[in-house]
Structure formats: structure tokens, C-alpha cells
């Protein structure tokens, strides 16, 4: 299949939306939805056609299976949240700023289609930083004092953090000069090639610095501090994009650096570091979910938790771990988008973020409430939904791994804690009788469609593991050096 053409379409669609929003300033939501409807099948085609890694456009772009997988996750979230944006943004206060919103929204999607494709490590760094720049404006879009505070913390913490990854990149480049001479191009395949021959200390330092730097962006605890603020204060469709799509883009970088240390034969310690971050993320997620009062903050901590699960999957490694982590990326993307759509509707309906004040949800949002509840059950990892499968796979990888059995046990305990904590909030929201009926707008058709799609997808992914996935994940596991 013609990959360059697919890449062009994938990039052109959101950029056309940006131009349309800024110039025409009418029907932006629909154009944006159209762009998302184009991007999703294109990303699937790109994934299908990524049999062997390809380098395109003067060595600038690199499309391999795992990169295409992340791109597809981005496209899924972009599609679902573009539906929802039509409904959600209708209730905003200031209709004159809507063109800016859609321009930024589509541009944000474009940056996330660009970063995972970057071939040079420095350009990948720039791509990730670009996602921050664009999304800062989206986080602060509502211009309340709280959302400006969240935007400020977001850009300062993430820019500071990601500069650590730049230091790591410089050290890795320096390490490469011992192998290839003073001038060369540091791209992903070069890194894999020179990793075994560069000075050990530089590879180790480079990996650790990159892990911490991109870990800030991926929301791994204890570098997650920007995440609850940004996710809770952004408009709900943006929260979904931040949580479902952006975090994966940063995780991709971590996985590629991890693969380089594997190829260089550094053994288990880089995996141990990643596992440690994963466990801390799960603990932080569990504790803050239990005692959370803000609805979207709770979902944000759930993102920290799920990034921890993905980190554990790649950390445990092996075929099972990689399978679980990749499957979890997709499941989490779909499920978290579903949750934020529900949360956005609830926030509009009740006019508050406070869980305490949301009572008798089934009466307040007939129908939608049950889809949302299904999502809540799914996100805690209960069967028969997709996350059950992926978490089980990660769990088994830990159980079978050498010396990671106690981590697997801890993982299981934390999952149970989160299950209880998360669903307890939902029990209270659904069962407590309402004191005053909510007066906000009811969810419309454009809320129904993405929620139905998401629940259906999660059910399908839970009941049936597509055989093609096995083949793809096998290839990815092999390329990451995890296949036994």
C-alpha cells in the first residue's frame, strides 16, 4: 500500500481543519469531525501496511508497527472526542472563540500524528514539546482562574521535565560519536545499531534521563503532578485527547529507548526501573482515586494508574508483557475517552465538578448513564471488557517473569483497591437520591454516538482477540527484542 500517500492524508486532514476554522469560521465542528472520520481509516490502513519499518521523506519520518499502533490509538481518540466536541462545545459561553478552539483541537491532533512518526530522536523531542505548546492553550481555553493555573503548571512542569530528556539525547549523541565520528544523524534505527558499541555509562545515563524526561509527559508517578490539574481543567473533549492519546505518544519514546538498552544487552535493570515507576504510579493512582472529590481529577488519577499498567507491561517484557501493554494502550484510549465524555456531560448537567453533588445520575442522564457505568466497570478491569484481557496479560507476564512475582501480587492487590475505590464513587453518584434536580443541558445525539461506539468496541475487544493483533504484537515484540 502507498504509505507516503496515507501519511499525507493523515497530516492534511487536521491541517485543513485548522485552516478552515481560522479562515471560514463556520461549521468547524463538522469539518473537524469529517477530518477525524478520514483519519481513523487511514491510520488503520497505515497500521496494516506497516509490515516492515519504512523511512520516508528524506529520512525524516519513520513508520513501524508500534509507531503505527500509537497513531491508530490517537486516531480513535480523535474520532470519538470529535463527535463529543460538537455536543460539548455547544454549551460554551463564548461562541466567538469556537473557531480558535477547533483550530487548536485539530492542530493538537496533528502534533500527535506527527510526533510518533519522527525518525530523528531530536525531532521526536521537538514533536513531543509541540504537543505541549498546542495543548497548553486548550487546557487554559475556558479562561477561568483554575484553568489558567492548570495551564501554567502544565507548561512549566512539562517543559522543565522534558528538557531532562534533551540532556539524555545529547549524552546519547555524544556516546554515538565514539562509534560513528563527530557528525552523524541520530535516528531510532541508528540508536539501536550503535547502542551495543557506545560507552556503557552514556547509554545508561541517556536512558535514565530520557525515561524521567518522557516519563513526565507520560504521566508516570512521581512526575505526574501536572496531569490531574490539566486533565480536570481542560474542556472534556481535550481531557480525553490528553489522557487517551497524548500519554501514549510519550510512552512510545520510553519504549524505544528501552529497546535500545535491550539490544545493547544491559539486561534487567532498565526494566526494573520502569517497573518501579509503574508500581509507584499504581500506588499514587489508587490512593488518590480513593479519596477524590473532583470527578475529572479522579479520571486523571485513573490515567496515572493505567500508564502505570502499561509501564509494568513493557517493564515485565517478554511476549506476554508487550502484548498486554500494547493491547492496554488501545483499550485505555477507548475507555478513557468514554469516561471523559460521560464526565463532561455530567459536569454540564450538574454544573459542578464535585462528585458529592452529583446524585441520582440515572435519572439525570437517562440512557447515557448506563453507558457511562459500563465504562466505569470496564476501566476498573472487570470482565467482559477489553481492559480485563490486557491487565490479565500484564499480570501473567509479571507472574512468569524472573523475580517479578511479588510485583504481580502487589499489582493485583492495587487493582482490587482501585476497583473498590473507583466503583464506590459511582455507587454513590448513582444510588444517592437527588436533593435538587439538575438543570444543565441533557446529553445530545453526538454524546450518544461516541459512547455507544466505545462501549461496543470495548465489548468486542474483551470477548474476541483479533488474530491480526497477535501477528502485529508478535512483530513488535520481536522488534523490541522481547521475543523469546
Amino acid at each position: 500500500m502507498n504509505q507516503p500517500a496515507l501519511i499525507m492524508v493523515l497530516w492534511a486532514a487536521p491541517l485543513v481543519t485548522v485552516l478552515w476554522s481560522l479562515l471560514v469560521r463556520r461549521a468547524m465542528g463538522w469539518v473537524n469531525l469529517l477530518s477525524a472520520l478520514v483519519c481513523f481509516p487511514v491510520s488503520v490502513l497505515l497500521l496494516v501496511s506497516a509490515d516492515t519499518p519504512h523511512i520516508w521523506f528524506d529520512r525524516m519520518l519513520y513508520v513501524d508497527r508500534i509507531g503505527a499502533w500509537v497513531l491508530m490509538c490517537v486516531a480513535v481518540v480523535y474520532l470519538l472526542s470529535s463527535f463529543f466536541a460538537l455536543d460539548y462545545m455547544r454549551h460554551g459561553e463564548d461562541a466567538r472563540r469556537l473557531p480558535n478552539f477547533y483550530a487548536l483541537f485539530a492542530l493538537f491532533a496533528w502534533t500527535m500524528f506527527a510526533a510518533p512518526m519522527a525518525n530523528m530522536i531530536g525531532v521526536y523531542w521537538i514533536g513531543i514539546e509541540l504537543t505541549t505548546l498546542v495543548s497548553t492553550f486548550l487546557v487554559g481555553y475556558e479562561r477561568r482562574a483554575e484553568s489558567m493555573e492548570a495551564a501554567w503548571k502544565y507548561i512549566i512542569i512539562v517543559s522543565g521535565g522534558i528538557s531532562i530528556a534533551l540532556l539524555g539525547t545529547v549524552l546519547l549523541y555524544w556516546g554515538g560519536t565514539f562509534v560513528l565520528g563527530p557528525t552523524y544523524t541520530l535516528d531510532w534505527s541508528t540508536l539501536d545499531a550503535i547502542a551495543p558499541r557506545m560507552p556503557t555509562v552514556l547509554l545508561q545515563l541517556g536512558f535514565l534521563l530520557a525515561l524521567v524526561g518522557y516519563g513526565v509527559k507520560a504521566g508516570l508517578a512521581p512526575m505526574h503532578t501536572w496531569l490531574p490539574d490539566a486533565h480536570s481543567e481542560a474542556p472534556a473533549p481535550v481531557s480525553a485527547m490528553l489522557s487517551g492519546a497524548l500519554l501514549n505518544c510519550a510512552m512510545l519514546g520510553i519504549v524505544r529507548f528501552l529497546a535500545a538498552t535491550d539490544i545493547a544487552g544491559h539486561g534487567a535493570w532498565p526494566h526494573r526501573v520502569l517497573i518501579a515507576l509503574g508500581v509507584v504510579s499504581l500506588i499514587v493512582g489508587a490512593l488518590f482515586i480513593m479519596r477524590q472529590r473532583g470527578l475529572k481529577r479522579m479520571l486523571a488519577y485513573s490515567s496515572v494508574e493505567h500508564m502505570g499498567v502499561i509501564a509494568l507491561g513493557f517493564g515485565f517484557g517478554g511476549v506476554l508483557g508487550v502484548f498486554g501493554a500494547l493491547y492496554h494502550m488501545l483499550n485505555h484510549s477507548i475507555n478513557k475517552t468514554l469516561m471523559f465524555i460521560g464526565a463532561g456531560s455530567a459536569v454540564h448537567r450538574y454544573g459542578t465538578h464535585d462528585i458529592e453533588q452529583m446524585r441520582d445520575v440515572p435519572a439525570a442522564m437517562p440512557g447515557v448513564a448506563w453507558l457511562w457505568l459500563a465504562g466505569a466497570v470496564a476501566i476498573t478491569g472487570a470482565p467482559p471488557f477489553g481492559l480485563f484481557r490486557s491487565e490479565l496479560s500484564v499480570l501473567m507476564a509479571g507472574w512468569q517473569g524472573s523475580g517479578t512475582r511479588w510485583v504481580a501480587i502487589l499489582f493485583l492487590l492495587l487493582l482490587i483497591v482501585i476497583f473498590v475505590g473507583f466503583l464506590n464513587h459511582f455507587r454513590l453518584m448513582y444510588a444517592r437520591p437527588a436533593t435538587t434536580p439538575p438543570s444543565g443541558p441533557l446529553p445530545g445525539l453526538m454524546t450518544w454516538i461516541p459512547m455507544l461506539l466505545a462501549v461496543a468496541a470495548l465489548l468486542v475487544l474483551g470477548l474476541w482477540w483479533p488474530p491480526l493483533f497477535t501477528q502485529w504484537f508478535g512483530q513488535i515484540a520481536h522488534s523490541l527484542g522481547a521475543a523469546s
Partner: protein, 228 residues
């Protein structure tokens, strides 16, 4: 070993060392002052030093792209950014840090501790990769030290403008080190340079909007609504 740094003449090596140490001293100037205008001047001079270093490196190593990098550094980081920050300061009517978490004197001591840590790390790395060239070790030390001091600034200073400068200083450290360690990767540095300008502009935009939303406060102590 194909390291360009190994072929420095003694004179060049001395000049490089001088510039690198000058940049470190300027980092301490920022750390020891509480006047925002001082930060700005120190940052501008630090950027100019880095620009001179790039140009010299380009001349000594035959990397013509580095002249371009030098011009960009001098223009953007040495001129445009400080002027923009001064403009913001005038609009905000803030002259100095009002709420110090740590006294400047204490901050200087902390900075010194960080430099010692950076020296230890740099010498260990140098030992592990078999490099005894003074300039390279010095560059590595100062790169790590400026980075750490930048994070220290971010931690102990509360004015929003100081945070922006802290972030910019983090990257100054990396530029400085990378000129000497990896002069062969300029394309990326150019991109990053331009990119930083974007970051800073974004910061300003957010800042100004924040001020519109909640009048009068530019210290991060006012940003404590979102917790838990």
C-alpha cells in the same frame, strides 16, 4: 578517537574554559540576586557567551553551521527574549522576588553543593569513557551544574518570570555543553533554539491571560487552588 575536542590548541582550550566558567558564574549571579532585572541581564550575557562559544567552535572545528547557530542564539536568546521579558516586567510592575522561600545567600550555598555534585558526576563519566581533556570535563560539569541550578531556581523562586527564566536556563546549560561535546549535531540545536522561543511566547501568552483572569498576582504562591 574521533573527538574534535581533542584537537584544541592550548589557547583555544583556555578561551573555551574561560567562557564556560563565565557562564557558570552568571548562573550564580541569577541565583544570588533577588532583582528580576538582574536575572534578565545575566541571562542575556550568558546567551551571548554561548553564542561566542558557538562561533569559535565553528571556526576551530570547521563547522560552518555553527555560525548560523551563533547568530540565532545571540539574536533570540541574547536579545529578543530578554527584551520581551523586560516588556512583561514593565506591564506587571514587579521588580523583585517578594516571597523568598530560600534566602539568596542560602541559595548560593545550595548552588555550590550542586556544582560539587556535578563535578563528581562529570569526572566519573569522564573516567568511564576515558577522557582526560580538561575542556570536555569542564563543559560536562558546567552543563550538569547549570541544569541543576536551573531546577533549583524553578524550585525556590516564585515569580512567574523567574520560572520562565529557569526553564530557559535549563536549556542554556544543554546548549553550552553540546557545543563542546557534540558540535556535530547543529541542525537539531537550531530547531530547538527556535522552538524555545515558541515555548517562551506561549508562557507569556498564558501568563498575560492568567493575569486577566485573576488580577494582580504573578507569584506561584497564588497558584494553589488545584491540589489533591
Amino acid at each position: 578517537m574521533p573527538m574534535v575536542a581533542l584537537h584544541f590548541t592550548p589557547l583555544l582550550a583556555s578561551i573555551f574554559s574561560l567562557i564556560v566558567i563565565g557562564a557558570l558564574v552568571l548562573a550564580f549571579v541569577m541565583l544570588g540576586s533577588r532583582w528580576l532585572r538582574d536575572y534578565m541581564v545575566a541571562f542575556a550575557v550568558q546567551s551571548w557567551l554561548i553564542a561566542i562559544l558557538s562561533a569559535l567552535m565553528g571556526w576551530a572545528g570547521g563547522y560552518t553551521e555553527l555560525y548560523f547557530v551563533a547568530a540565532l542564539t545571540a539574536l533570540f536568546r541574547g536579545l529578543v527574549l530578554p527584551l520581551m521579558l523586560l516588556w512583561v516586567l514593565k506591564r506587571l510592575h514587579v521588580n523583585r522576588e517578594l516571597h523568598e522561600i530560600v534566602q539568596p545567600a542560602t541559595a548560593l550555598v545550595l548552588g555550590a553543593v550542586l556544582v560539587i555534585f556535578a563535578v563528581i558526576v562529570a569526572y566519573r563519566i569522564g573516567h568511564a569513557v576515558n577522557i582526560e581533556t580538561r575542556v570536555v570535563l569542564l563543559a560536562l560539569t558546567v552543563m550538569l551544574a547549570i541544569k541543576l541550578i536551573g531546577f533549583l531556581m524553578l524550585t525556590i523562586r516564585r515569580e512567574a518570570v523567574s520560572s520562565i527564566l529557569g526553564i530557559l536556563m535549563l536549556e542554556n546549560g544543554i546548549f553550552l555543553g553540546s557545543q563542546i561535546l557534540v558540535p556535530g549535531m547543529p541542525l537539531m540545536i537550531e530547531l530547538v533554539l527556535l522552538f524555545d522561543l515558541l515555548v517562551a511566547v506561549t508562557c507569556f501568552a498564558v501568563l498575560v491571560r492568567y493575569l486577566m483572569a485573576s488580577v494582580g498576582a504573578t507569584g506561584s504562591h497564588a497558584l494553589q487552588k488545584l491540589v489533591g
